[in-house]
């Protein structure tokens, strides 16, 4: 069944997020650090009168750390009652696409593995489908802790 997906770039890779999970795409206005918080929390940012918890996707996927100062595009995802902003390198478009079964049987790396829901075929490209809630949950180490 065809559904809507938001195509973004994380860690130099184009990935898809289920559009139903995404509330908005915003440009962050300032970032307040949250010292001692979980490593994948880049800080806090305000969106209108709400406080967004900004998630560093690279850190969440165990792929290193983002230089938060260089990134401004974020995908707002409400999860368990809290609004989060996922830092992404770029936001492309919303596409209608279908799940491509079997594509994730190839080893995609531990970091991606824990966040991947499968893959979609969009405009002939095969894109990894990522669950934003799993990214918000943080790196495997943080989850185990």
């Amino acid at each position: 069944m065809a559904e809507l997906y938001l195509i973004v770039t994380i860690g130099g890779r184009r990935v898809a997020l289920p559009a139903a999970d995404v509330e908005a795409v915003v440009e962050l206005d300032g970032l307040t650090p949250a010292p001692r918080a979980a490593p994948h929390v880049a800080g806090l940012s305000a969106l209108r009168s709400r406080v967004l918890t900004v998630i560093d996707c690279l850190a969440a996927l165990g792929l290193g750390a983002t230089n938060a100062a260089t990134l401004h595009d974020a995908v707002v995802v409400p999860s368990s009652g809290h609004p989060y902003a996922l830092l992404v390198e770029s936001v492309e478009d919303v596409l209608e696409a279908e799940l491509a079964p079997g594509a994730t049987r190839a080893p995609i790396g531990a970091g991606w593995e824990q966040a991947a829901l499968g893959a979609i075929e969009a405009d002939g490209d095969l894109l990894l489908l990522v669950d934003p809630h799993r990214i918000i949950a943080g790196p495997p180490a943080a989850q185990a802790a």
């Binding site: 949250a34 001692r36 209108r48 918890t53």
Partner: protein
């Protein structure tokens, strides 16, 4: 009582609304058993409630309808159209009466008897009534007079009208207003940045005022009298006593204090747990209470102090043995022997809140099953509250809960450290000091820092270091904030700058942020940037402050602090004349705005009508012309006093260096607070000068023989001046002191208290005589002034 009646009326109205469908359906099909049952339940409920409220008309009506319907239910009578009409007429009348009560209108017409007679009438008796047979409004008996009575009469009691709302809706409103406040703040910031435009600013001011008013109103809608929290207690205490074979007298005080609904729900479980504990483990069985008397006393009192509500639960049971508790904690591995040795009495008592520790010797069905005080404390702390315990063996336990008024808006102090702004809840701030000042000395002990503040050593945590930033080189410019976290001991937090006191709308932070352990939530600053609200107890544990090591009591004693006075908590305010004054917080019950109409110069002094009582008013020579007067409600435990003032400045806890006033008066002396001269109000003098004498029944009682002119005319004024209430002696009179004439052959039995025998001659007639010469004033006064302990029946 008014609340209960309102509740009942609202309930009746709701039931009527829900019932209207059933009434119509029953009318169409009188044989329908389901509908009949529904209507029967309604009149039955109304009957039960009105009996309780003493509403005779409603009771008569509902009783008659219930009887008739019961006959139908029992099959003794058929639900013929006449009966249906009669029942419907009665139900309509109940609705009218309820509405009349609620709005304070004149009661509808009085032909209840006719309606009741119709119910009882059997088919064929008398003329059939004409029933139009539809909705509530068309029923027999509507006269012109009644229709007139229905129109809201002038001067109808307002405020009795009420509607019920779901708490969800209130929450949504509150959230909406919180957002509006934040949006306003952001707009204010942008306006400051933009070019000045007077018209825009005026419009913005208006919007601002509106939002503030709405916020105030909505905050009030969320407030509920704490009565509703206390209401189930008498029943609970009664049931527990029956179950445990104990005798407990429950005293509840301060039920008119208002608190956020949500807060009340959050406190409900902890409070009932504490009360259960007190009865189960605190108060002894009647035969083991000894001289205290068989009936235990449990006091639950609420008081508002600034932005906090303090709820105190105290019992007069056997108390907590701190040493035994400490031993248990040691056995359970909760503390080490080493640590235990350095713990104060207070700290040992606080062990009762440690997980997995119960003070009960055995587990009972009521409490002591491990779901213990640790859960109580956790629940209280979750809502930003603090719980404290005090107990002496044999004298009972006093547990005090302090909680903020609302969950969502809390007063906080904004500070910065390491280049970032944080907020600290005001509730845990004891004092703010400058690091370079004379009163603070900072020393490095090993890797740690210790601040000595007026002879008191407390661990020092650097907020900048804690958040992983460089500590500013200029330690002298740092500010020291003394924090007393929930249930913990004092410690000091060093920050770079202290900014401002703000009322912040706090929202919970995401779990990944809360994982840091040092945050309590997030909020937005005026400039729209997020600010993290710090959690003082979280900081203490994350920073590894071993609060129990630095025993403040001991260090205060060894640090040469003998000259240091006791720290007092003071409410700073401006008097009506603008002067800066301070009064000890414990005597302040609450702060209120009262309309000047409630103030009268009556019976020699200014008095204020508060609810159903009259309290003397001090602090102002005359009532203001119009508007409102802000008052402090003061209490000395028995008497009450109102004190008019201008505005609250602050609440401060400090050691006072007071210069006494030249003569005793309203002002006890003057002290320097923050460089300003502050006059300290002397509550002792205030109550002595303005307070009304306590009510009769609280004074000791002295019984005088009747018909003795000397006693009546000469002795009585003296005794009364000693604070006694004088009653005539006689059978069945309970008195603390009984005065008898030594010449009387057989003095009345001394069952009631002390007997004081007076003789007319200066010389004692016999050696063993204990009578007093009746003009020996000194002996009389001393005999009367001896503490008169009321005789307790030993059980």
């Amino acid at each position: 009582m008014d609340d209960l009646i309102n509740e009942f009326l609202a309930e009746t109205r709701e039931m009527l609304q829900a019932l209207s469908g059933a009434i119509v359906a029953w009318e169409a099909d009188p044989a329908n058993r389901e509908r009949l049952d529904e209507i029967f339940r309604f009149v039955h409920t109304v009957k039960g409630n009105c009996g309780f409220f003493d509403l005779p008309r409603l009771r008569q009506l509902s009783h008659a309808a219930e009887d008739a319907l019961a006959e139908v239910r029992a099959g003794k009578r058929a639900a013929d159209p006449r009966l249906v009409s009669a029942v419907l007429a009665v139900i309509d009348r109940i609705g009218e009466l309820a509405q009349a009560f609620e709005t304070g209108e004149a009661l509808p017409s009085e032909d209840d008897e006719q309606l009741i007679a119709d119910l009882a009438a059997h088919p064929g008796d008398g003329p059939a009534r004409v029933e139009s047979g539809a909705g509530i409004d068309s029923h027999p008996g509507t006269t012109d007079a009644e229709a007139a009575a229905r129109a809201p009469s002038e001067g109808a009691k307002k405020g009795l009208r009420s509607i019920r709302l779901s708490v969800d809706l209130l929450d949504r409103m509150m959230n909406g207003v919180s957002d509006a406040v934040l949006a306003r703040n952001e707009l204010a910031r942008r306006l400051r940045e933009a070019e000045r435009d007077v018209a825009v600013e005026a419009a913005f001011e208006r919007v601002s005022t509106c939002i503030a008013e709405i916020r105030d109103a909505i905050t009030r809608t969320r407030m509920q009298r704490i009565d509703s929290l206390f209401a189930p207690l008498p029943r609970m205490v009664r049931d527990l006593c029956a179950e445990l074979g104990k005798q407990v007298r429950l005293e509840i005080d301060g039920g008119d204090v208002e608190l956020d609904r949500e807060m009340i729900e959050m406190i409900r479980d902890p409070l009932s747990h504490i009360v259960r504990n007190a009865i189960d483990h605190g108060i002894e069985p009647p035969d083991r209470r000894g001289p205290k008397g068989p009936v235990g006393l449990l006091r639950v009192a609420a008081r508002q102090a600034g932005n906090q509500i303090r709820i105190e639960v105290s019992d007069d049971g056997h108390g907590i043995d701190a040493e035994a508790l400490a031993r248990k904690a040691l056995d359970a591995g909760i503390v080490t022997a080493d640590r235990l040795e350095r713990m104060s009495h207070q700290q040992k008592l606080m062990l009762m809140f440690a997980p997995g520790l119960t003070t009960a010797a055995e587990v009972t069905a009521i409490s002591g099953r491990g779901v213990g005080m640790d859960v109580v404390r956790a629940n209280i702390e979750r809502i930003g509250g603090v719980i404290d315990v005090d107990s002496r063996p044999g004298e009972g336990v006093r547990l005090a809960i302090r909680v903020p008024l609302t969950l969502t808006i809390i007063p906080a102090l904004t500070v910065s450290a390491g280049g970032q702004i944080f907020a600290i809840p005001r509730s845990s701030i004891e004092e703010i000091l400058r690091a370079g000042g004379d009163s603070v000395r900072i020393e490095a002990v090993g890797e740690a820092c210790v601040a000595t503040i007026r002879g008191r050593r407390v661990p020092l945590v650097s907020l900048a270091e804690l958040v992983g930033a460089e500590r500013t080189a200029d330690a002298q410019g740092e500010k020291i904030i003394l924090l007393k976290p929930a249930g913990g001991d004092l410690y000091a937090l060093a920050v770079d700058t202290v900014h401002d006191h703000e009322e912040l709308v706090v929202k919970p932070a995401a779990p990944a942020v809360m994982a840091a352990g040092i945050y309590a939530g997030t909020t937005l600053a005026d400039d729209g940037r997020p600010i993290l609200l710090l959690d003082p107890s979280g900081i203490a544990s994350e920073a590894g402050v071993r609060v129990d090591i630095v025993d403040s009591d001991r260090h205060a004693a060894t640090g040469g602090a003998e000259s240091i006075g006791r720290e007092v908590s003071l409410l700073l305010f401006r008097g009506l004349d603008g002067g800066l004054r301070a009064i000890p917080v414990p005597v302040v019950e609450r702060i209120e705005d009262v309309p000047v109409e409630a103030i009268r110069h009556s019976a020699g002094k200014l008095r204020l009508a508060v609810g159903e009582r009259i309290v003397p008013l001090a602090g102002c020579a005359a009532a203001p012309e119009s508007g409102q007067l802000r008052i402090l409600r003061l209490t000395d435990g028995a008497a009450e006093l109102a004190y008019g003032f201008g505005s609250v400045v602050d609440i401060r806890s400090l050691v006072l260096d007071m210069r006494p006033a030249a003569a005793p008066g309203e002002v006890a002396g003057v002290a320097l607070i923050d460089g300003a001269q502050v006059e300290l109000i002397d509550p002792y003098w205030l109550f002595a000068a303005h307070g009304d004498p306590v009510r009769d029944d609280e004074r000791p009682v002295c019984a005088l023989p009747e018909g003795d002119p000397w006693m009546d005319n000469m002795l009585r004024p003296l005794i009364e001046s000693m604070g006694y209430r004088v009653v005539a002696a006689g059978a069945g009179v309970a008195a603390d002191v009984l005065i008898a004439s030594a010449e009387t052959v057989d003095p009345p039995p001394a069952a009631t208290g002390k007997v004081l025998r007076l003789r007319a001659t200066p010389e004692s007639p016999r050696e063993d005589d204990d009578s007093i010469y009746r003009y020996d004033r000194a002996a009389l006064l001393s005999a009367l002034s001896r503490p008169v302990a009321r005789e307790r029946a030993n059980g």
